[in-house]
């Protein structure tokens, strides 16, 4: 029985594929889950939200007020509806029904025309700063010149000419759509969730089903068991990848600026990383319950520290060090790089080789940990 036998590997592969095909529920979940996650996260996570509910308190209705409201609406950040009383507006803000309350003081137009510079109060719900950040910036940009057309000529603001202009050029994602950042990241995340959790159950299922004892008593090598269990999941992972990519391109209009083939190859290395972690967990855990928990334990740092959740550059040094060790971190960069920036092998290489090393290292450890006896 010494050495590696392709016949035995093939037997293992055939058995695993049969079991996978019989288990229609799991296959269904592995296809449906990424779709649901993609739509959920792709649409739900938006760091630049628009159409924020905004209350309007207005003591009088004037041309100036109408122009101001229209200008705010035009930024698309605000959906404005009037409130009758201050108390009602306060309620709405507290309940979260309104993110902003715009309070236009009495005698607004008269005081404007007298040049008294009346103050318009904008109450904002700042519990989530990122949600109101861009909207607030839009207000600041607005107020200097918004009323120029309505004002008598002598009141019109002549903004001083700044000595230079800064032109912001939003590269790769000019409209700064969050989906373009989120969706390529989701490819990595969804693959992590499905492959890690699925393979972490591979050996524990044999152990709990009592079939492990029989498998061990038969002449099969650890590496044959591991490959036999992993390869079917690689196939499944690529089915998921194609699904996600198709939706990313057709529904979320994520551009494919680089080579799709290169992306698939890089994702292959990433999948190998996850599968070897999953297999290692599987040999370590005694029960399926333990395996699930271990897999989730591995998943959380991946989500938090890979740059998926928070910008990688904003994390403290130690967190970035941990992040660099996680395959998902590198995959996020590769996905975003190839899809959005059109990166080639040269540019992704610094993120590709660490994953290769990772897969090899963890894979070796996993095979070593696989016990050929019941001790």
């Amino acid at each position: 029985m010494s050495g590696f036998s392709p016949i035995r590997l093939l037997a293992m592969l055939r058995k695993e594929s049969l079991q996978m095909r019989r288990d229609r529920g799991t296959v269904g979940i592995t296809v449906m889950l990424p779709l649901i996650q993609l739509f959920l996260f792709g649409y739900a996570i938006n760091a630049n939200p628009r159409h924020l509910p905004t209350g309007l308190l207005s003591a009088e209705h004037s041309t100036y007020e109408r122009t101001l409201v229209a200008a705010l609406q035009n930024t698309r950040y605000f959906d404005i509806r009037p409130f009758a009383t201050e108390a009602a507006a306060e309620q709405a803000l507290a309940r979260g029904d309104a993110m902003f309350v715009l309070d236009i003081p009495p005698n607004f137009s008269r005081r404007i025309e007298r040049g008294e510079r009346p103050q318009v109060l904008m109450d904002a719900d700042a519990t989530d700063p990122t949600a109101i950040g861009n909207a607030s910036a839009a207000v600041a940009a607005l107020n200097a010149t918004v009323l120029n057309r309505d004002l008598p000529a002598d009141r019109q603001v002549q903004p001083p000419q700044p000595p230079f202009d800064i032109v912001l050029h939003a590269r790769y994602n000019p409209e700064q759509l969050t989906a373009l950042n989120i969706v390529p990241g989701l490819i990595g995340l969804i693959l992590t969730i499905s492959t890690l959790v699925m393979t972490s159950l591979a050996i524990t299922r044999e152990r709990e089903g009592g079939t492990m004892e029989n498998l061990l008593a038969m002449p099969i090598r650890p590496v044959e068991v591991m490959l036999g269990k992993i390869i079917p999941y690689v196939g499944l992972a690529y089915v998921q990848t194609s699904l996600i990519l198709t939706i990313a391109v057709t529904v979320f209009h994520v551009p494919v600026r680089g080579s799709l083939l290169l992306l698939l190859l890089a994702l292959g290395v990433f999948i190998a990383c996850n599968l070897s972690v999953g297999f290692a967990i599987s040999t370590l855990a005694r029960t399926q319950m333990q395996a699930q928990q271990l897999a989730q334990f591995g998943l959380l740092p991946s989500i938090m520290l890979s740059g998926f959740m928070f910008p990688f550059q904003g994390m403290p040094g130690w967190a970035r060090t941990i992040g660099e060790l996680l395959p998902l971190t590198h995959t996020l960069r590769i996905c975003r790089g190839i899809l959005l920036k059109g990166n080639g092998l040269l540019q992704i290489w610094p993120d590709l080789w660490p994953m290769g090393v990772f897969a090899l290292l963890v894979g070796t450890i996993a095979v070593r940990m696989y016990r050929e006896t019941l001790d």
Partner: protein, 305 residues
């Protein structure tokens, strides 16, 4: 005597602080059916697992089919068929698929023909397409045995193969074991059933991880030096209850209309019978049976620990 299929000396195995096998020495000649007996937790399963390389012995030495237990466990696996105590096939695969999987792992030549032959032999042909989890207990045992012998092993290790199976299926199963034996396979089969032990050419009795006795059923019965009396008549239940507490009595139990009394000292047993003062009972001395011997051994073991 034939060559030895199993020959182990002073085998030891502990799990943590718990000593399970405590210096076991036993021999099984090739071609024999050997019943492996002993109470629960006496170390039968652990011994079988060490024989097929699933557990590494802590100490001692031994050979299985002439191969070293520790160094040649890979070669041993190829020539041994091991049937686990718990059904250990894939419930979501069919009978045929399970057998094919096992056959491929052993690289059985002419797999399709070999699988067909083994299914014919064990009456599984009609159920080839049935998922293993839908088989009843008796049929699961048949599938397990079929998978064990598919690669034509020289030694079969069967761990309580008939536990929880009805009498008819048990009898058929034992007929199959004898067929395997006729083909030249050596069989080591653990069991708790006395009728099964009596169908073995050889018995190995284990207690507390040590060998208590080994030999043919007759040899085991004689070596126990047990004296057995039998009584019939009214009030045997009451008599049995009282006898159990008297000196010299190893066992006193009612079987249908008979009361069987066993012990090592004939005079002490007679004194016990006389002290009963039950004139309605008619006593006679009879040949001890295997179950008398085992119950006496189990009792002695419990008293000793």
């Amino acid at each position: 005597m034939n060559a030895l299929a199993i020959d182990v000396h002073d085998l030891r195995k502990s799990f943590g602080a718990r000593v399970v096998i405590d210096g076991l020495t036993m021999q099984v000649p090739e071609g024999e059916i050997c019943g492996f007996l002993g109470g629960n937790g006496s170390g039968k399963t652990t011994t079988i697992r060490m024989l097929c390389g699933l557990l590494r012995p802590d100490g001692g030495s031994g050979t299985c089919l002439g191969l070293d237990l520790i160094h040649d466990s890979a070669s041993i696996r190829l020539q041994v068929g091991y049937m686990t105590q718990r059904f250990s096939f894939y419930g979501d695969l069919t009978v045929l698929e399970n057998l094919e999987f096992v056959g491929r792992l052993y690289r059985v030549p002419g797999l399709a023909g070999a699988v067909r032959a083994v299914m014919q032999r064990f009456g599984l042909a009609d159920r080839a397409g049935q998922p293993a989890q839908e088989l009843s207990g008796g049929w699961k045992q048949r599938l397990a045995l079929a998978a064990c012998v598919l690669h034509r092993p020289r030694l079969l290790l069967l761990d309580e193969p008939t536990a929880g199976v009805d009498a008819k299926a048990r009898r058929e199963f034992w007929d199959m074991i004898h067929e395997m034996s006729a083909d030249g396979m050596t069989v080591l089969v653990s069991t708790h059933y006395m009728d099964e032990a009596e169908r073995c050419q050889r018995i190995v009795y284990l207690a507390g991880g040590r060998l208590v006795v080994q030999g043919s059923a007759d040899e085991v019965v004689h070596s126990a030096n047990l004296v057995t009396f039998e009584a019939t008549g009214p009030g045997i239940e009451r008599a049995a209850r009282r006898l159990r507490h008297l000196p010299g009595v190893a066992t006193a139990a009612v079987f249908g209309r008979d009361l069987r009394l066993a012990g090592l000292d004939r005079a002490a047993l007679r004194r016990a019978i006389d002290s009963l003062d039950e004139p309605g009972l008619v006593w006679k001395e009879v040949e001890p049976r295997l179950d008398d011997v085992f119950i006496q051994m189990l009792n002695r073991q419990e008293a000793g620990t």
